[in-house]
């Protein structure tokens, strides 16, 4: 009967759609590299995992391939490696304890430096003998740019003589 046939067909199609991904295909090197690009060789100094030719790195990439085939996500795989090797595999310290110094110190110094700069600039502006305040727009009658233009013209003409 057509209706039942249609239903059966639909079930078969649906089933194959659901089953197909589970027929784990070996991940391509590109898929492995997409994850290996975000990891770092724990034995080397600053060599990315997808560029490392050490036996240990090759094995790590094999494990990535296996985990991808098993359906793990990138985050899961990265977390696994962090558990195995520690933060070194992420290439940067994660924020705990002393590691915070790596991030905090530049931030702290940056804020302090810019703050100091702001203070010093204000101080130097206040030192101006003529006006005790930062210049107000109405202080100069002529627009500065036109003045500059004319000044430059004068200068250029002078230089030509």
């Amino acid at each position: 009967m057509p209706k039942r046939m249609a239903l059966l067909l639909a079930i078969i199609i649906l089933a194959s759609i659901l089953v197909a991904p589970a027929l784990a295909q070996t991940p391509t090197p590109n898929e492995v590299n997409a994850i290996a690009k975000e990891l770092w060789c724990p034995l080397c100094n600053g060599v990315r995992l997808d560029n490392c030719e050490l036996q240990a790195c090759i094995q790590m990439r094999e494990v990535i391939a296996q985990k991808l085939a098993a359906g793990e996500s990138k985050e899961q795989i990265k977390a696994y490696f962090v558990q195995q090797y520690g933060d070194v595999v992420l290439g940067m310290p994660t924020g705990q304890g002393f590691n915070l110094v790596a991030w905090g110190l530049p931030a702290l110094v940056g804020v302090a430096a810019l703050g100091l700069l702001a203070y010093v600039v204000r101080l130097w502006v206040r030192r101006r003998p003529a006006a005790g305040q930062i210049a107000t727009p109405g202080a100069r009658p002529v627009s500065t740019s036109a003045e500059e233009y004319l000044k430059r013209v004068d200068e250029e003409l002078k230089n030509d003589q």
Partner: protein
């Protein structure tokens, strides 16, 4: 013959120390003959260092393997070109090379200023000679290129300059060869450019010392050293770029900068040096920042020493650091002494440094320069923290916490972006004060350009958020520069009636500093363009291919044709030929190679198959192969905009040439200089 080299160095050390004393004593006691003697010492020491270097070169070129340095860095079948570059291929030789460059700069500066500034010169000479003396001491006592090989009674190999008791000379039949990573043309020019940069900063520093000692902290010393700062700065920038180019082409990972400790050591001094180039402009125009400027150049100079200390002492581990040596403690001593000495000098001269700095307004070009200075130093600090974090954490915690590129990218990336934007803002603000009504006039076009870049790049296919920001910043800065040029030319034409071309040329000629500086900024923009392209738009792919199979990345297809083996003077080369096609149309061939050097079979080198282009580079690496190439593994990268980085370097050279081109001497030039707008 090589004993002569050793003797020359010893003599050089003695004479440089003499020169330091003679110069200082002569200046203090007002004895011109003594000062002249000190000056002559510079020439003689220069000659002696040159002699020693020539002798070492001769030894390298004639395979004198009884010298340890020659035996460990060359081999008989090494091409002559690399025997020459082997001079800076190792610790001892590169230190001698550093000394040679330093002596060269000292001789050049002494000769150039021979009839100027009699009050400065003794102290300039003294500083230069003291630095030369230090490096000679390091070469002689910690890393001597003239040390020979001896075999003792027990059959052990001993290294010493003079024969130790109970040993016989040992002359190996062949050398160990040069590190394969150094056997390419970049490694010839990259260290040379870097050294010309690092070492060259000693000259402006020496003048800063002289200015402090003689109390002449006005614009005199600034004017004198302008070109002597620009030129080393250019070489340092080029050196860094050449190193990036080497990494790009030779290391084969599709990138050019890994924030490796040695790379950072070259970047860190560049940052205060660039800040210095800008802040001396403020001193020249406004008489401000006298203390800041001497401190800045001192910082830049100390950081060059610190950087080389890091790479040579074994304190940080790096892919390309020198081996452990006694060099470290000596650098430590010199850096510590010079730091304390300079600090003492500053404090001694404190009364003279009391400049009443003032600003007319917060919204001014001065403020942007000051902000830029602070930002440059912040980047240097952050980079230093990251570089030292591993040895420091090991020291303090016992646990080595390694910091790699991701840290630096996250920390420095945003700061560099801010710097880029600042570079665009500065020309749009006037000196002293920018009236608010002019702000719209000045900022209008650049802001519009920045905003318009968003739909423009969207239309060109950009979907990357960070990319939008980057391109907008670039457009903003570029528009500002173009606007400056446009206004300058228009003003000239208005005043003189010249044609566009003539007006442009004359504008640049008369205001070389300013417009040359803008050209350098454009060079920086091009470098930033390459960085943005590589960071955010790189595509890659990897595949194992049999002959005839293809891999497609972006819209390029590479078909593996065959693998050919060939033989070079000291290596075996395996060359994979791939046909490139773009969107179906053939686009030539690429050769991706693996090179195995005879003396280093465990360290195969990669030769990237590169097809550069204005829009993107196609970049192929032969990762490996089986048998005689039935299957081969390839990594393919498509790097958009990468070539613009190298073009940026060329533009920077042009910019510095324009900025530093001599414009004659005498009153006319002085007047021009005073009235020049920058």
């Amino acid at each position: 013959m090589t004993d002569l080299g050793y003797v020359a160095l010893v003599l050089g050390l003695v004479l440089s120390l003499y020169g330091v004393l003679a110069s200082i004593l002569g200046a203090r006691r007002n004895l011109p003959e003594l000062v002249a003697s000190g000056r002559n010492a510079v020439y003689v020491v220069g000659g002696l260092v040159l002699l020693a270097t020539l002798l070492l070169w001769h030894a390298l070129l004639t395979d004198q393997f009884q010298l340890e340095y020659v035996a460990t860095h060359t081999e008989r079948s090494l091409p002559t070109f690399f025997k020459i570059s082997a001079l800076w291929g190792g610790q001892a030789g590169s230190l001698l090379f550093w000394t040679l460059v330093l002596a060269g700069y000292a001789v050049a500066a002494t000769w150039f200023f021979r009839s100027q500034q009699p009050s400065f010169k003794p102290y300039v000479n003294a500083t230069l000679l003291l630095t030369i003396a230090f490096f000679l001491a390091v070469v002689l006592f910690a890393a001597n290129p003239f040390a020979r090989l001896w075999r003792d009674a027990a059959g052990e190999v001993v290294t010493a300059v003079f024969r130790p008791a109970g040993t016989v000379p040992l002359i190996p039949a062949d050398g160990q060869g040069l590190n394969p990573q150094l056997q390419n043309y970049w490694m010839v020019f990259h260290p040379v450019a870097l050294y010309l940069g690092f070492v060259g900063l000693t000259v402006p520093f020496a003048f800063a010392v002289a200015a402090l000692v003689t109390g002449q902290l006005g614009n005199t010393w600034i004017k004198l050293i302008r070109k002597w700062t620009l030129v080393p700065w250019l070489f340092l920038s080029l050196g860094i770029l050449l190193g990036s180019q080497w990494a790009y082409i030779e290391l084969g990972w599709g990138g050019y900068w890994a924030w490796d400790a040695v790379e950072n050591a070259s970047l860190i001094p560049w940052l205060p040096a660039t800040a210095f180039i800008h802040s001396i402009v403020i001193q020249e125009k406004r008489g401000m920042l006298k203390v800041w400027n001497v401190v800045l150049i001192w910082l830049a100079w100390e950081l060059t020493l610190f950087g080389t200390f890091l790479t040579r002492s074994g304190v940080v581990q790096s892919v390309h650091a020198f081996a452990l040596s006694p060099v470290g403690p000596m650098f430590f001593a010199f850096i510590a002494i010079t730091m304390l000495g300079f600090l003492a000098l500053l404090i001694w001269r404190l009364p003279l440094l009391r400049s009443e700095n003032q600003l007319d307004a917060v919204l001014s070009r001065e403020t942007t320069f000051l902000t830029q200075n602070v930002i440059f130093l912040l980047i240097a600090f952050a980079t230093l923290v990251g570089t030292l974090f591993a040895p420091l954490s090991e020291l303090l915690l016992g646990d080595k916490i390694v910091v790699s590129a991701p840290y630096f990218q996250r920390v420095n990336g945003p700061i560099f972006l801010a710097l880029l934007v600042l570079m665009g803002i500065a020309p749009l603000l006037a000196w002293r004060r920018s009236a608010p009504e002019t702000l719209l006039r000045n900022f209008g076009l650049p802001l519009a350009a920045g905003v318009l870049s968003v739909p423009l790049t969207w239309l060109l296919g950009n979907r990357n958020a960070a990319g939008f920001v980057g391109f907008a910043a670039l457009a903003f800065v570029l528009a500002g520069v173009v606007q400056e040029y446009g206004r300058g030319v228009r003003t000239r034409r208005h005043a003189t009636g010249e044609g566009w071309g003539v007006a442009l040329v004359n504008l640049v000629r008369r205001n070389g500093r300013r417009y040359g500086g803008y050209i350098v900024h454009i060079g920086m923009l091009l470098i930033a363009l390459g960085i943005i392209g590589n960071e955010f738009y790189q595509s890659e792919g990897q595949a194992n291919l049999r002959r005839g199979e293809s891999i497609t990345v972006a819209n390029y297809t590479l078909t593996y044709r065959d693998l050919a083996a060939s033989r070079g003077p000291n290596y075996d080369e395996y060359s994979a030929r791939l046909e490139l096609s773009r969107a179906g149309r053939p686009a030539g061939e690429l050769l991706a190679k693996k090179v195995l050097y005879d003396k280093n079979p465990d360290q195969p080198m990669t030769e990237v198959g590169l097809r550069p282009g204005p829009v993107e580079d196609v970049y192929v690496v032969l990762a490996g192969f089986e048998g005689s190439g039935e299957t081969a593994s390839f990594k393919v990268y498509v790097n958009p905009l990468m070539s613009w980085m190298w073009v940026g370097g060329l533009v920077m050279i042009l910019g510095v040439l324009v900025a530093a081109w001599p414009r004659g001497t005498g009153a006319a030039a002085e007047a021009r200089g005073r009235s020049a707008r920058y």
